[in-house]
Amino acid sequence: MSKIELKVNGRSHTLDIEPATPLLYILRNDLGLQGPRFGCGLGQCGACKVIINGAAVPSCVMPVSSVKGEITTLEGLASNGRLHPLQQAWIDEQVPQCGFCQNGQIMTAKAMLDKNPHPTDAQIRESMNGTLCRCMSYYRVQTAIKRAAKTIANASPVFGKEVVA
């Protein structure tokens, strides 16, 4: 056991925990952040993704001791009571079926749009390709990403900065 400091969604936490523990279980079971979910435990499906240093990474295979940087989870995307444009696009396009994978879809899309605000269709397919959905909501995920990209582009620069994790 050792003391680990984590900053998640703007809040700092100190935990006394086995350093090899994958981040996912700490987020879900110790910090009550259950947006990230266990899908495969192998880093293959994306259900557990969180954003660290601008990249959407699988938290199921990441030892907590290796985390360097602030963590953003699905719960941290909304600001001042307003959903992130991606989340709103997900509602407008009625994206999920069961919704179990959508944490991964949204977090991967956010990391992509933060780096590349105007992705082409091919770039969307490529960036999202490692994030799986067994209900096959892919077509709507791609549509919603394009919708959110438009919303973000039309918003003020201030808002654009605000949504970068």
Binding site: E18, T21, P22, Y25, R28, N29, G32, L33, Q34, G35, R37, F38, G39, C40, G41, L42, Q44, C45, A47, T73, L74, E75, L77, A78, L83, Q87, W90, I91, Q94, V95, P96, Q97, C98, G99, F100, C101, Q102, N103, I106, D121, I124, R125, E126, M128, N129, G130, T131, L132, C133, R134, C135, M136, S137, Y138, Y139, R140, V141, Q142
Partner: protein
């Protein structure tokens, strides 16, 4: 505002309290009606439920009481309680639309609670696309009856006969004097209806009131947004995987390393010193490790040393030898005439269907064609492993689960543990969609058994390799077909002969087939025989012979190759063969494949089948029009470029729901890669309750069919499954998705020309023709017929090379 897919346990607490008028827990009743979703955590509820409510027993809600279905609140809103689960198709929203229409209450003033066995009547849960077709009817009749009773109450209150009253938006007014009014809430909130309905079972339950005709339905046919989606995208939804209870511990299974393995030893010292270790629990060949924390249980289960003895015979052939094994195997249920004592409905395929004189048709044929098709085992591969949390407090058993048939799970757990039915309840919560897997759910019994063993709440979840290897499988099919063409190129003779590897097909939540029961040795004496289904009876072919037989693997218990119901069970396999073969016949006749089909569909409206064929013609035409189908024979002249393009069509029906699909594919002749660039799905399921939800379900079902066509296959050696993750049992990915998908709802929204057409099942039907549509498109593009699913790059490339393309 809705709670249908939210947090049933919390809602249950507040609303049961509200409804029954006891347990005036200030903390619970202080929660306002609109604040249920996301307002409470499961921990809070679990901690608050240590009192009377949590203690049980849990008698069945009486389906003959309106009060079991509908509660009207003071603020003139209503909560509907239905015995269904919504794994993500939006059925909960659909029920609200239909019930609010019958009750005459604004849609936005309703909520729907689903699937928890102690507060909703048993309507089985979900499955078979029956939500609208069958299960919405009792809901509608009860809502209509509640409206009738409320009008009578208003009549007494206002002193005016019922026929002089009008009702709109849950407000009753006197027609002649509209200022005289009373709301539903004022009439009944805080009281019960106390109205007993009639009907022998939940499907036939009814009151005196009649349901409305389709043109009278206002919300039905509209597309209000699904009420479960906001909490699914902001992270506030509490799923079955999210349940936390005081004192809860974590368990992970240790699966046998090969099929039918006998446990010969457990070395507990291999895990005893691990942090958080509590106990190894075991009975028969079932083993699990229990730890304080989740990651500790995962580690301990991996580290536990166990020894196992192999069975004396190989449990199954390796996957590459499966079809030769199936060809040679002796059938378990052979085609034979119906014998006295046979069930007519259980296994209709056990006797051949003969129409006309097929032998004469073949002997007089101008041309005969034959083909053989192979469809492997395909996994359910739910997005996350089976999971459940069980709480043994107070001598009861509460299981938190995403089992789509929660009522069946309750019976299964009670029977498996030998507990009285009313001591067990299942609280249904959302989970990863399982396509039938969550109706043959294993984790519920496992969690309940371990919880009873150790006397603490236990959370169980299967790991990825465990789920992909040991989940239920869609049976492998081998289909031989023959066709006789006359000199005019008409298909006058047709033979279909299927073998399915489906012996010991698992039913829903059976206490003597659930995996833990198999491993513990408490299993039934005789396996279920499964089925080798026929294709739908789609064409008027004058001479036909169709038969199916089931074959079994050498060992059918305690094996990961256990078959179960995967989305339209045993529908896609025969349809792949049958609709590929019709295309082969059209090619042999050098005829456009759509035209070839159309000429064999004889419409009439005299009976169900004729009615369905009439709608089939409309659906095929709609698909062709949406695609811009240009009539010509297949294949088209083979191009010279790196990428070859082609289009294919296939159609089918499931019940009265008719689906036609067209695929346009690109085939890379250098890599064998198939990309479905464009898909069209025309769909008629009668009355459409929510067009947007329906489009979504059809779109996702169509893509699931595409995934099964190009990716999915269970691989195994002679003792274990070797496809264990998302690379070895792949699924569709973002890059596979067509650039355009058109969903055409032929039936309209709803169709004014057929105002009283009832809703038929939607969802599963849209998988059925997809495999053949893709195969037909590959043939159109390349001239090469792929008769083996899935159409993976290496298989397609080998076929192209063999054909010299």
């Amino acid at each position: 505002m809705s709670v249908s897919a939210g947090v049933p346990e919390q809602i249950e607490e507040a609303l049961v309290t509200h409804r029954r008028g006891f347990l005036k827990s200030a903390g619970l009743l202080a929660v306002s009606f609109g604040a249920f979703v996301g307002a409470w955590t499961t921990e809070a509820v679990a901690q608050s439920s240590g009192g009377a409510k949590g203690a049980g027993p849990y008698p069945d809600p009486d389906f003959r009481q309106i009060d079991s279905w509908i509660v009207i609140h003071e603020n003139n809103s209503a909560t509907f309680y239905v015995g269904k689960t919504d794994p993500g198709q939006g059925t909960g929203t659909g029920f609200r639309q239909l019930m609010s229409d019958e009750l005459d209450i604004p849609f936005d003033q309703t909520a729907c609670i689903m699937g928890s066995t102690d507060i909703t009547v048993d309507q089985v849960g979900s499955g078979g696309s029956t939500a609208m077709e069958r299960d919405s009817w009792p809901m509608r009749r009860v809502a209509a009856e509640a409206r009738r009773v409320l009008l009578e109450m208003a009549s007494a209150r206002l002193g005016v006969p019922v026929d002089q009253l009008a009702v709109s938006d849950a407000i009753v007014t006197v027609k002649a004097e509209p200022s005289k009014r009373v709301t539903y809430g004022e009439l009944i909130a805080g009281k019960k209806f106390n109205i007993t309905l009639t009907g022998n079972n939940v499907n036939s339950v009814t009151g005196q009131a009649k349901t409305k005709s389709v043109p009278e339905l206002k919300n039905t046919g509209q597309s209000p947004q699904r009420d479960d989606i906001p909490a699914k995208v902001d992270g506030s939804l509490k799923w079955a995987v999210d349940v936390k209870l005081p004192g809860m511990v974590h368990a992970r299974n240790v699966k046998p390393p090969f099929a039918c393995a006998k446990l010969t030893g457990i070395d507990e010292s291999s895990v005893k010193g691990l942090p958080g270790f509590i106990k190894v629990v075991s009975k028969g060949n079932y083993v699990a490790v229990v730890c304080e924390r989740e990651e500790q249980a995962i580690r301990a289960a991996r580290q536990l040393k166990t020894t196992w003895q192999k069975p004396s015979t190989a449990p199954f052939p390796a996957s590459e030898d499966l079809f030769s094994y199936m060809r040679a195997a002796a059938p378990i249920s052979a085609s034979r005439p119906l014998l006295a004592g046979d069930s007519e409905t259980r296994n209709p395929e056990s006797r051949p269907i003969v129409v006309g004189n097929p032998d004469a048709a073949f002997s007089g044929a101008a041309k005969t064609i034959e083909a053989e098709y192979e469809i492997p085992f395909q996994g359910h591969t739910a997005f996350a492993g089976a999971h459940a949390t069980a709480d043994p407090s107070n001598g009861q058993m509460t299981v938190y689960s995403n089992d789509m048939k929660s009522y069946g799970m309750r019976r299964c757990v009670a029977a498996f543990l030998g507990m009285p039915h009313d001591r067990v309840r299942v609280v249904w919560m959302q989970g990863p969609q399982g396509f039938g897997r969550t109706a043959a759910e294993d984790a519920g019994c496992e969690a309940a058994w371990i919880a009873r063993e150790i006397g603490r709440p236990v959370r169980v979840q299967w790991m990825r390799d465990e789920e992909t290897a040991w989940d239920t499988k869609s049976p492998a099919f081998l289909v031989k077909m023959r066709g006789a063409l006359d000199s005019d190129g008409r298909l006058v003779g047709y033979e279909y002969y299927a073998r399915s590897c489906d012996y010991n097909h698992l039913g829903y939540n059976e206490p003597d087939t659930v995996l833990i029961a198999q491993l513990m040795g408490s299993r039934r004496a005789r396996p279920a025989s499964g089925s080798a289904s026929m294709p739908s009876d789609m064409y008027a072919i004058p001479n036909r012979k169709m038969a199916g037989e089931v074959v079994g693997l050498p060992i059918v218990w305690e094996t990961p190759l256990r078959t179960g119901n995967l989305r339209d069970p045993n529908g896609p396999q025969p349809t792949f063969a049958a609709e590929s073969f019709i295309d082969e016949a059209a090619a042999a006749a050098k005829t456009d494949p759509l035209d070839f089909r159309m000429k064999m569909i004889k419409a009439d409206t005299n009976d169900d089948a004729g009615f369905r064929r009439a709608r089939s013609i409309a659906v095929l035409k709609a698909a062709a029009e949406a695609y811009g189908w240009d009539p010509r024979p297949s294949p088209k002249p083979i191009g010279t470029g790196k990428v070859l393009t082609g289009r294919g069509i296939a159609y089918s029906f499931r019940g009265q729901t008719v689906v036609a699909q067209i695929a346009e594919v690109e085939v890379n002749r250098q890599t064998g890669h198939v990309w479905a660039k464009r898909l069209v799905c025309a769909h008629d399921c009668g009355l459409v309750v929510n067009p947007e939800s329906l489009r979504h379900a059809v779109e996702c079902g169509t893509l699931h069919g595409l995934s099964r066509a190009i990716h999915e296959e269970v691989r195994f050696d002679t003792e274990k499954v070797t496809s264990l993750d998302w690379f070895s049992h792949p699924t569709l990915r973002h890059a596979d998705v067509p650039e355009r998908i058109d969903i055409v709802l032929v039936n309209g929204d709803p169709n004014p020309n057929r105002p009283d057409l009832p809703p038929y099942g939607a969802g599963e039907a849209s998988l059925k023709p997809m495999l053949a549509a893709i195969a037909n498109a590959i043939h159109d593009a390349t001239g090469v017929r792929i008769r083996r699913v899935p159409f993976r790059d290496d298989r397609v490339l080998a076929a192209l090379k063999a054909a010299g393309v």
